[in-house]
Subunit: 268 residues, 2 copies
């Protein structure tokens, strides 16, 4: 069995390689990503995913879940590194870091590997640029019992530290797919599935609209919204009340309000 390795230097090559995972190009080259925090890593473990490398800060509090995690990583042939809180903060880029972080293999995000029948709701985001919004949508998906999040066109990287953090562990429980619109639409139409978007054009009120499972809730880019063509391809366009000066909501908020409405409709 491997043992704990202690790293005390900022210029250690392992530290450099871990830090590099904060950048997308290095994540893609390595096929790996970082996740922080005992709760998140425990969620991952319970979901069947172990980090290949576990990094722990010296002086952390003991915790039975941490001991269990360390043992599981070592038993699976992974590596456990102990380092200073400063170096861990450098790796995760957070001033006040969690006491542990893990390195995971990126998941397969091929659309073809999704089984749409495992859940009544799916979230779909188009050109979503903000990693915080992306992580928040994963978290909302977990809460409403969605199957996962499908990312259309050029979205933020779901494996970025910010997205993983905002997902609060849902990165490990929600399925994730990435596709161009030209791939997504034929895939959707090859089976059951209702595509729904919030829209300001000819649309029905979102309360009491005829939602059907599996229901795919499509949310557009933060500043531009959905392209007309995408909206028109939807089976159902719904409007939400907009009582103020602005005519829009934050993308993750709009998706969540709609997802809770769909959940109530399908359960009711």
């Amino acid at each position: 069995m491997n043992q704990r390795r202690i790293i005390s230097g900022f210029s250690n090559p392992t530290v450099k390689a871990l830090r590099a995972l904060r950048e997308k190009k290095h994540r893609k080259a390595a096929g790996k990503f970082l996740a922080e925090g005992l709760r998140l890593l425990t969620d991952a473990r319970e979901g069947g995913r172990l980090p290949e490398t576990l990094v722990m800060a010296e002086g952390r509090d003991d915790h039975p879940l941490l001991a269990a995690l360390e043992q599981a990583v070592l038993q699976a042939g992974g590596e456990v590194i102990e380092t200073s809180p400063d170096i861990l903060a450098k790796i995760t880029g957070k001033d006040n870091p969690q006491a542990i972080a893990g390195v995971f293999d990126e998941f397969d995000t091929a659309l073809a590997s999704l089984d749409r029948h495992v859940a009544p709701i799916w979230l779909v985001a188009q050109a979503l640029r903000d990693p915080g919004n992306l992580g928040t949508m994963l978290r909302t998906g977990d809460a409403v019992g969605a199957g996962g999040l499908i990312l259309i066109d050029d979205c933020a990287d779901p494996f970025s530290v910010e997205a993983v953090r905002a997902s609060m562990g849902a990165i490990f429980t929600q399925r994730l797919a990435q596709a161009r619109w030209e791939e997504f639409l034929p895939w959707l139409r090859a089976g059951q599935g209702q595509l729904v978007a919030a829209s300001l054009r000819e649309a029905v009120p979102y309360r009491g609209a005829p939602y059907r499972a599996p229901c795919f809730i499509l949310v557009g880019n933060e500043s531009r919204g959905l392209p007309d063509e995408y909206e028109l391809a939807c089976d159902l366009r719904v409007t939400m009340p907009m009582k103020g000066r602005a005519d829009s909501l934050n993308a993750a908020v709009a998706g969540a309000v709609l997802a809770y409405e769909v959940l109530a409709s399908l359960d009711g």
Copy 2:
């Protein structure tokens, strides 16, 4: 009438003073804050608020709304500064800045100045730490026709560049108050008002709960939620379905789902 002033140096004292407004202590000392973008500044103008200083980047596109804004600022005795896109980016701290920014006086955020009867819904956030969440709540408040946002205890600064940006202009349309819990609760109880929180303890389903206007929707801190004592002081505790592994939503998302439910209930 004042004329446009051209500033071309990074070390110009005005540039330094404007940049300093990105930091809370300097904002508080000056009693001023920054807002960017033509749309946002136009919303402000239509809401009766003009920047005392308007900063425009050279080489920006002409726009009738920008011309109207510039004229209004000059007529009101304000200052118009023209500078390079690089300097404007330095001021706002954004890589890809909007072509204009304005400096506004911070608003009065005394609880005593709120008239609770102007709107059926109010959002209340306790110890909300993320300026993006704070701005998103302002934006949601605008959408549901809320009166404003009441910030309880130590929240992020609503006048930070991040919060103003995320509010998408709602900083100028929503009322804003800041208070300690010990001030808020007596103020609330001195008049009509139902205090509602999402809760996991003894609570009723959030769909169809007996909401009453003016309804104050209370959302807690991102990681700790609401203190027990605050939850117990609520008139109504409601639960939202949590189908996944996690038992919580992003604070701004939870507030929005609840706010749309309250809106439907009061309108219905």
